[in-house]
């Protein structure tokens, strides 16, 4: 890279200081090839990354924050199972990044392609953006190769596990399925994004079928031996849905869209009219290319106070891609990690002690069009590690918990984005 002259650096500083880089027209990656002052780059604008970007700016507005997120809008995974049942629209779960821009976050709709941790640069195509610290919140990537036939059929076999067009398309397929048809939902082995999500989805699809296609059946093929979250509450909820056929320890290893059939590890073949195959998962691609994943090649180990990677200095990893903390891969945890990592990064950049903060987890699941259940986990820091204080479940399902779920969603969407 060309060495900048002092004059160019000064000019860049002044522009950045006046906030003019982002006004008038959309900011470009090349605008950030120089670093006029202290800069934090956030990779990924989901629950973790968006929260981190906002809270760095709240904690210290003198730090420039550049957020790299390819999607133009934020679509909430929590509540997206309600799109399948027709209870919510995808539009009601879609939000602008303008709230972050109002906090002074430079939002670039680009994909980070590499992190050069030694030179402290994030590469976006041919551009290299210098940083003081980078917060990586890449979410999950699917392990297409774990299911035979899946890699070649990515466009036909829907996961709908990243809310967006696939969610809408799966809802359309469900609606178009003839009464008497078979909907097959497959659940990958833990760990994956949102442990209770597939079981909530089971409720929503079963509720829809019960009310709209009473002769239809929902077959759930779970790679895990049993429901892995809120087990008794989901079992109780499913008593209302005799159209569910749940098969534990049924890992799907092959899919054939031609014959509309999946094959389990045991060799059972299951025919479907509509298939929702949730593939096995690992940390988002940038975490792998940046050598942030551990020996398992799937997830990233971090310091529990700062979320700094155990493998690379000045690189922090948050959200679903982390491992080793006793927390679920949930939006609420990602939001908490985003805020805590932001405060840690700001403290480190200002040579101040890092505050001791543990995350929390509040997780609602809708079991019908109007009732919900919940699990709540609180944590503390003990010996430098996140340790659970307590887990509580709702004693049953109710409309009151569903109202709290709506309150939670409205609050946390604002906390993440506005």
């Amino acid at each position: 890279m060309k060495q900048s002259t002092r004059r160019e650096v000064l000019r860049a500083s002044a522009w950045a200081g006046l906030g003019l880089v982002a006004t008038g027209c959309a900011p470009k990656v090349s605008d950030y090839a120089q670093k006029p002052g202290r800069r934090v780059i956030v990779i990924g604008g989901g629950w973790g990354g968006a929260s981190a970007a906002k809270y760095v700016r709240l904690a210290d507005p003198s730090i420039e924050v550049v957020l790299l997120e390819p999607n133009q809008e934020f679509v909430s995974c929590p509540f997206s199972n309600l799109v399948l049942s027709g209870v919510r629209t995808i539009e009601s779960l879609t939000f602008s990044y303008d709230g972050l821009r109002a906090h002074g976050v430079r939002v670039l709709h680009e994909t980070a392609t590499m992190i050069d941790a030694d030179r402290k640069r994030v590469h976006v195509g041919r551009n290299a953006l210098p940083y003081d610290r980078v917060i990586v919140s890449p979410g999950v990537e699917f392990q297409w190769d774990q299911v035979e036939g899946l890699a070649a059929a990515q466009d036909q076999v829907l996961h709908a596990w990243k809310a967006g067009p696939q969610t809408v398309e799966l809802a359309r397929q469900l609606q178009a399925m003839p009464d008497g048809g078979v909907f097959v939902l497959t659940i990958p082995p833990a760990a994956y994004r949102c442990p209770p999500g597939p079981y909530e989805r089971t409720c929503q699809v079963a509720w829809y079928l019960k009310n709209n296609k009473p002769k239809s059946k929902l077959i759930v093929l779970d790679a895990n031996p049993n429901i892995i979250s809120k087990t008794a509450l989901f079992r109780a909820a499913w008593a209302n849905y005799p159209n569910i056929e749940y098969r534990g320890s049924n890992k799907v290893v092959k899919v054939d869209p031609g014959t509309r059939e999946v094959t389990t590890e045991l060799g059972d073949k299951v025919k479907y009219d509509v298939l929702n195959l949730i593939p096995p998962q690992r940390a988002g691609t940038i975490a792998v290319t940046a050598d942030l994943v551990g020996a398992d090649k799937r997830w990233c180990e971090v310091n529990h106070l700062t979320y700094e990677s155990v493998k690379h200095k000045n690189v922090h990893v948050i959200g679903d891609s982390t491992i080793g903390l006793p927390v679920p891969k949930s939006g609420n945890v990602a939001n908490a990690m985003g805020k805590i990592s932001a405060l840690a990064v700001v403290s480190l950049l200002n040579d101040k002690p890092v505050p001791t903060i543990a995350p929390g987890n509040t997780c609602y699941s809708w079991v019908s069009d109007r009732e919900a259940i919940a699990v709540v986990n609180s944590y503390k820091i003990d010996g430098g590690k996140v340790v659970q204080i307590e887990q509580k479940l709702t004693p049953g399902q109710s409309e009151a918990w569903a109202q709290n779920a709506v309150g939670w969603a409205n609050s946390i969407w604002a906390d993440v984005l506005s």
Binding site: R7, L10, R11, S13, A14, G17, L18, G37, Y55, L58, A59, D60, P61, S62, N332, N335, A336, K339, I340, L343, P355, T356, I357, A358, P359, G360, T362, A374, V376, N377, S378, Y379, K380, I389, E390, Q391, K392, L393, T394, P395, A400, Q403, N404, V406, G407, W408, N410, S411, I412, A414, D415
Partner: protein
């Protein structure tokens, strides 16, 4: 020439890089309170109907609520774990932080007719909460103003059913009063107290 042009820019840079006034997260208790903001809003400014506003809350009331939730007297699967967390991470600092935040009243839209009906029925509440609804710390009576109506209504129903802090002597009078109020009136009362500033 170059120097002259640079001077204002340099001055601006010095100004921008100068000491920054205490930010919104600089107060003791603020870093720990960011976990609360997922449900209660940044700085305790809840924007939802279900969760109470913590901004401007009296420290004595916040601490009593946390202690009651942690002890299971106020039953809430959501708040019990978090209350234990708050107790372990410094309840005094967190209480002081929320108390220091100026309360922005709930943005939940109120039905003007319900507010008026509530106003007509609210005299019974003012005996303890005062005509302005600001409460009386010396008697352990909290400020109701500007709280979300959904939260206020839920609490009145919990008092009536004796499901909030059963056996708490301080709450005997309010529970006795709630038992005299028909359920359908709670929405009106909640709307009225929410409307006060």
């Amino acid at each position: 020439m170059r120097l002259l042009l640079s001077l204002p820019i340099a001055a601006l840079l010095v100004a921008l890089a100068g000491p920054v006034a205490a930010g919104p997260l600089d107060m003791a208790g603020a870093p720990q309170a960011v976990v609360c903001s997922a449900c209660h809003g940044f700085a305790g400014q809840s924007r939802s109907n279900a969760m109470p506003i913590l901004a401007g809350i009296a420290p004595w009331y916040f601490k009593k609520a946390i202690q009651d939730y942690a002890a299971g007297k106020r039953t809430s699967p959501e708040m019990e774990p978090y209350a234990k967390m708050v107790l372990q991470s410094g309840v005094d600092d967190i209480a002081a932080y929320f108390a220091a935040q100026a309360r922005t009243p709930s943005p939940v839209k109120l039905d003007p007719a319900a507010v008026e009906r509530g106003r007509a029925a609210a005299a019974q509440c003012t005996v303890c909460h005062g005509a302005a609804g600001k409460g009386d710390p010396s008697k352990g009576v909290p400020d109701l103003t500007g709280q979300p109506p959904g939260y206020l209504r839920t609490q009145m129903l919990l008092f009536k059913a004796d499901r909030r802090s059963p056996g708490d002597d301080q709450l005997k009078a309010v529970k006795a009063l709630m038992r005299t109020i028909p359920d359908e009136q709670f929405s009106d009362l909640a709307a009225y107290w929410s409307s006060l500033r």
